[in-house]
Amino acid sequence: MALKAGLTPEQARARRVRRERVRRTLRHGILLAWTFFIAFPIFWMVSTSFKDSGEWVAWPPHWLPEAPTLHNYAQIFAFRSIDPSLSRQAAEQAFSIWKGLGDALLVCTTAALLALLLGAALAYSISRFQVGGRYFRHTILTIRMIPPIVVAISVLIYYAILIPYATSGVLGARISLFDTYIGLILIYTASTLPFVIWMMLTFVDEVPYTLEHAARLMGASRITVIRRIVLPLVASGMVVTFLFVFILNWAEFLLALTLTHPEVTTLTVLLNKFQSASEGRLYGPQAAIGTMITIPVVVLGILIQKHLVKGFSFGTIRK
């Protein structure tokens, strides 16, 4: 930096140090302000989840619960509604989290595994054999860009009309995929496949082809090559992709809301049921459920933090 006229080097340095300190303070001020903005809703949710019903909408609001209680958690983790004082309607709404948790785990895990299996295999084919032509990678992206509401309406009509109609003609029994695990798993698999393919492409592309080629020339079969050379090198990438897709499925709401009712209930749908409750909203249990939904994905997300950008940008940004 050029020296200003009339300043000794010492003065210039002191001035620079001072300016640097001001800039650092300003920088941390802005960053901490944003940190506060981010933390506030989360803090409020966690705080509410420990409040008793009287404090949910108290005025003035209590920043911290005055009488912290685990009642909300007890209620959502109960196998049956435990509070006899609740009205019948409220008691019906206060069903426990177990069903939602089980369904969400089942659907999300299965769909993510299925998508990983298919997507990883296809990514390998695309990377090594240019299956589907040069622009197939990008064609796949269109699937992801279609508005989910369009998919939801089509699939609802399909599950609820065409499949029962077809099966009653062919098999003699009306089988509907509406409100079934299989139906939800299939649509989750299809809608997350583009992410899997693109993430796995970034990992598979990094495996040197010469290695495989040499092994092939020396007589290793295709299966051996994949199992012994490719798989060990992309294993960590597959774990990351699985977790990423799992988080996506875990957060999915629109498709679950439209394609299931009342049997299959994922956690997001469960939370929404409390929201639309007619007789006063149950803020406390909602907050408890929200906290419970949030914790696992935030932990998983922090684990794969380095790779999140790869997933969300479809591998266009790789660092």
């Binding site: 960053l31 944003w34 506030f40 084919s125 279609i146 290695l211 051996t224 012994r228 050379i229 950008v309």
Partner: protein, 351 residues
């Protein structure tokens, strides 16, 4: 790593590379022949079938066919069906057999529906405002965090958390904050009471405030994504280039506008495309915060379609609207993907 039958032939690729270097054929051929022996025991037809599956022509196409089959079954056929339904006159509360052909009547109904066009305009308005704010804030935050040294990891971790939180929980959180005796009103209370205004403001009952509420919820959650994209953009900047510019006498201002910003262009384009595509799908916060209300002032196009189909049972109307929506979106999708490909090739060309 899987257990290998012999202790010596470890399956590690590193080992494989060493083996290849020494060009020792017997060692690497050993597991392969063992595998071949395994299949030799199978009947001839099966073996031929296995070889056919493993051939260059068939093997790469197996996953391709499976995935295409899934897409056709789960996305393509349903969509054809939707087109079919969209030319019928049918409501879901009547049996399907009562439906009759009605030509383009549904399309006419959609195109002449004010609510449809308003919801589309509103969606673009929400997405536009939200994405612009997210880009600017995300960029500034990424720039500031990039300058940090010790606290970089701390801020990055904190700032990325909203992205991982389930959107529906975000909607719930903001619906808590906006209630009439909620924390927002308490923060504002000292100011409002001075002017004699009752601090129990019901934010979500006012059209403009409800729209803002939804936009703010989107900004809260997705600024983390633009932040992440820009942060990786900043950390991928070549140091030598920036140092060279400084040594040659560029002011920090010039260095930023003339050197760094052009280098960040791919990241900016990617962030714009990805965020706008996602923001145009906005649905979850609307359901959680306002149910499209008050009136129809916060209906996005996704919510509008959802309501038509699930609340009013107007299936054929919804089908026609979704076909039209997809046609409109396909232009955006095409442009978006074209730009992504172009940016990607420049990103890869540079690295």
């Amino acid at each position: 790593m899987q257990a290998s039958p012999e202790g010596e032939t470890k399956a590690s690729p590193l080992h494989m590379a060493e083996v290849l270097d020494r060009a020792d054929m017997t060692e690497i051929a050993a597991p392969a022949t063992r595998f071949a022996v395994g299949t030799a025991a199978a009947p001839g037809a099966l073996r031929r079938f296995g070889r056919w599956l493993g051939s260059d022509r068939i093997f790469p196409r197996i996953p391709f066919l499976l995935v295409e089959l899934l897409f056709i079954l789960v996305i393509f056929v349903p969509f054809l069906l939707t087109i079919y339904i969209s030319v019928l006159k049918w409501r879901a509360n009547r049996p399907f057999e009562t439906a009759y052909f009605s030509g383009l009547e549904n399309y006419e109904a959609v195109l002449s529906s004010d609510l449809f066009w308003l919801s589309i305009a509103r969606t673009f308005y929400f997405a536009g405002v939200a994405v612009v704010v997210e880009l600017v804030v995300g960029f500034v935050l990424a720039m500031l965090v990039h300058q940090c040294t010790r606290s970089k990891k701390f801020y990055t971790t904190i700032f990325l958390i909203p992205m991982m939180i389930v959107p529906i929980v975000v909607g719930y959180n903001f619906s808590m904050i906006y209630i009439d005796s909620g924390p927002l009103n308490q923060l504002l209370a000292p100011f409002l009471e001075r002017f004699g205004i009752d601090p129990h403001i019901r934010w979500l009952s006012d059209p403009v405030a409800a729209q803002l509420a939804i936009i703010i919820a989107d900004i809260w959650q997705w600024t983390s994504l633009t932040f992440l994209i820009f942060l990786s953009g900043f950390s991928a900047l070549p140091r030598q280039l920036i140092d060279a510019a400084r040594v040659m006498g560029a002011t920090p201002w010039q260095n930023f506008w003339r050197v760094q910003l052009p280098l960040l262009k791919p990241a900016i384009v990617i962030a714009v495309i990805i965020r706008s595509m996602e923001a145009l799908k906005m649905f979850d916060p609307v359901v959680l915060l306002t149910f499209g209300g008050p009136g129809t002032s916060t209906q996005t196009v996704a919510y509008f379609l959802w309501e038509q189909v699930w609340v009013f049972n107007k299936f054929s109307f919804g089908a026609a609207a979704s076909v039209l929506l997809l046609i409109m979106f396909s232009v955006l999708i095409y442009v978006g993907i074209y730009l992504l490909i172009r940016q990607r090739s420049t990103v890869e060309g540079k690295v």
